[in-house]
């Protein structure tokens, strides 16, 4: 386990910043997920921490030591790549033992460790196979085993599950969580899958065009996003402009009593679609007409036009709702965040 500290980390490519002045601390033994859209700088962050590239500015500290200039092979950090990057000319066993061989570990130790990891990764009788003879899931397991053989303090995972089918993803996700705990590693996981980040991470860091927007526990990232960008990354959200004053949110002719907030003024409410219930029309609730309904398995996504506003809500399929129906909306204001002003309820 190791504590990681990043200070004002900046990296540019051809004059354009890939990441800009990012500072964060990752506690020893923590599992941090880096989340953001494609090209937001997630992988650049991992490559900087691993030492594969150098920052233009800023510093990287691991367990109190400045490792900014330390070469990748000298850092106690290993990375699992998205495409697994197994060596095609080496067998499974040789791939797993590769790092130990580079560190000139004794042959017996290498063999014992390789066998132990093959068992742990549930890869029996595959040691003599070449990577091209393995399935995608097996390849990713070997890639994991290969880095674990080095017993690193810091494990970096660059979208390790993105190329796998859903069943394998679930299995490997559980395995990674188990390994993270058993091996007591500080782990940084890059993913663009919000559910994966929510399920796995102790904390989530949200990157947006190379900048760190928010770093918090998954529940806070979801319920208290600091910006429209963060809110959008973690699910469908209705953004409603209005005036917040004295515990009342006023918009489009409607006044809603909301949990008391320290500050008011012009704000944008971020209401998650699952926090809006589609109900029978009643006078004290916003009322509108269903304009669109999409079936998505256990529920439907329903668009309701209320005046000039369009609300997106989720409703049960058992409730008889059709396009054109007049309905009411029941919003759970305790779970609504206001444009950067955190809900203090």
């Amino acid at each position: 386990m190791a504590k990681i500290r990043l200070n004002d980390l900046t990296k540019t490519y051809q004059g354009k910043p890939a990441i800009e002045k990012i500072s964060m601390e990752i506690e020893a033994g923590e599992l941090m997920a880096l989340v953001g859209h494609s090209g937001c700088g997630k992988t650049t962050m991992l490559r900087l921490i691993s030492g594969l590239i150098q920052p233009d500015q800023g510093s990287i500290w691991i367990d109190g030591l400045d490792v900014t200039k330390t070469k990748a092979e000298k850092r106690d950090v290993v990375m699992v790549f998205q495409e697994n990057l197994l060596f095609p000319h080496l067998t499974v066993a040789e791939n797993i033992a590769f790092g130990m061989r580079m560190q000139r570990s004794p042959r017996k130790k290498r063999m014992d460790k390789t066998r132990e990891l093959l068992d742990l990764m549930q890869l029996p009788d595959l040691e003599k196979r070449y990577p091209s003879q393995l399935s995608g899931g097996q390849q990713q397991r070997v890639a994991l085993a290969r880095v674990l053989a080095l017993e690193p303090k810091v494990l970096l995972l660059d979208e390790p599950l993105s190329n796998l089918d859903p069943k394998l993803r679930d299995d490997l996700r559980d395995l990674i969580l188990k390994l993270h705990k058993d091996f007591k590693m500080t782990t940084i996981l890059v993913t663009h899958d919000r559910d994966e980040a929510m399920m796995m991470a102790d904390r989530i860091a949200v990157l947006y065009y190379g900048k760190l927007l928010q770093m918090d526990k998954p529940i806070n990232i979801y319920n208290k996003p600091v910006s429209r960008e963060v809110a959008s990354l973690f699910g469908q959200c209705n953004f409603i402009p209005g005036l917040l004053k004295d515990g009342v949110f006023q918009t489009e002719g409607y006044r809603f009593r909301v949990p008391a907030l320290k500050r008011g003024g012009r704000v944008e409410a971020c209401v998650r679609s699952e926090h809006i219930k589609v109900v029978r029309p009643e006078n004290d609730r916003p009322m509108g007409v269903i304009t669109e309904k999409k079936y998505v398995g256990g529920q439907s996504i329903i668009k309701v036009a209320v005046g000039n506003l369009i609300f997106i809500a989720r409703g049960s399929n058992y409730f008889d709702l059709e396009i054109g129906n007049q309905v009411g909306l029941d919003i759970d204001w305790t779970l609504v965040s206001f444009n950067g002003l955190k809900n203090q309820a």
């Binding site: 594969l52 790549f81 990057l85 095609p88 590769f98 070449y130 880095v147």
Partner: protein, 289 residues
């Protein structure tokens, strides 16, 4: 039954295949028949291995064969090793690559004969270097400058070959290495391999098929090349292609089958080298692809 797509492919290839079949395969078959003594122009119509026996029993045969091997092997080895390291160096250097790329690709475009003239101007005993050393008082006369040409060490010929072959090997290997280096090289570095270990444990083994391929082509060229050893080679022994040429242009037409036998032997050696390349590449590729 040939599929429509295959038929289309053969149709597109017909112009190129026709040239190969008529000029190469046709010429080769004629040469082979002549090497067996079939030469109606001088009244020989029986097929015989007499000329093969004659060539193999000549004292200059093994001298010529080993001399040709010496030139081809030494130039191929130097070109392969230097070209491979140069390709790796190019991958890792931070110097502006477009300039270096021009520098190393330039020799590929220059004809061998031009290179030969250039190197003769510089390195012959009457060349620029010798005169500069003489002027600087480092040698007493131009004859004391080491002989690179018309000698059995064939250093001049080897130098001319490697001047062109190192860039060729670099060119062939660089692209393959670049693909390996950017991803698998980083994966190895991430697994605590030093730059040397990355090269010897990952880059080199994975580049082997292209290195062997470049090397086989360079060897086949050096072994079968005629013009440079003809102009700058030792009086004795001659390289196999020069020996074949001298027999071919001999006023004595009965020497023509001898020339063809030598050509057959040169072709056989080149074919064997390509076959060895094929086997080695297959061995490498079978393991992991």
């Amino acid at each position: 039954m040939v599929s429509r797509d295959s038929l289309k492919a053969y149709l597109y290839l017909t112009p190129a295949l026709s040239v190969i079949l008529i000029f190469f395969l046709g010429g080769f078959i004629l040469a082979f028949i002549q090497s067996l003594g079939y030469f109606p122009a001088i009244g020989q119509e029986d097929l015989t291995f007499k000329y093969y026996r004659e060539v193999l029993n000549k004292p200059e045969f093994f001298k010529s064969l080993s001399y040709t091997f010496y030139i081809a092997l030494l130039s191929t080895t130097i070109a392969t090793v230097s070209g491979t390291f140069l390709a790796y160096y190019l991958l890792r250097t931070s110097v502006k690559k477009s300039f270096i790329a021009f520098l190393y690709k330039f020799p590929i475009a220059v004809p061998h004969l031009v290179v030969a003239l250039m190197i003769v101007f510089i390195l012959s005993q009457g060349g620029i270097l010798s005169r500069l050393l003489l002027k600087g008082g480092l040698i007493s006369d131009t004859a004391s400058f080491p002989a690179f040409f018309y000698t059995q060490n064939a250093l001049g010929i080897i130098l001319i070959y490697i001047w062109k072959e190192i860039p060729f090997v670099t060119f062939m290997v660089y692209t393959v290495m670049r693909n390996i280096h950017t991803k698998l090289g980083e994966a190895a570095q991430n697994l605590k391999a030093s730059p040397g270990q990355v090269f010897f444990h990952v880059i080199l083994p994975l580049s082997m098929p292209s290195i062997i391929s470049a090397s086989a082509l360079v060897f086949a060229y050096s072994f079968g090349a005629f013009e440079v050893p003809y102009l700058l080679g030792a009086t004795y022994p001659k390289t196999m292609p020069v020996w074949a040429y001298l027999n071919f242009i001999s006023a004595d037409l009965s020497a023509r089958p001898i020339a063809m036998v030598i050509n057959m032997i040169v072709s056989l050696v080149c074919a064997v080298s390509i076959f060895i390349y094929y086997l080695s590449a297959k061995k490498y590729l079978r393991k992991w692809s």
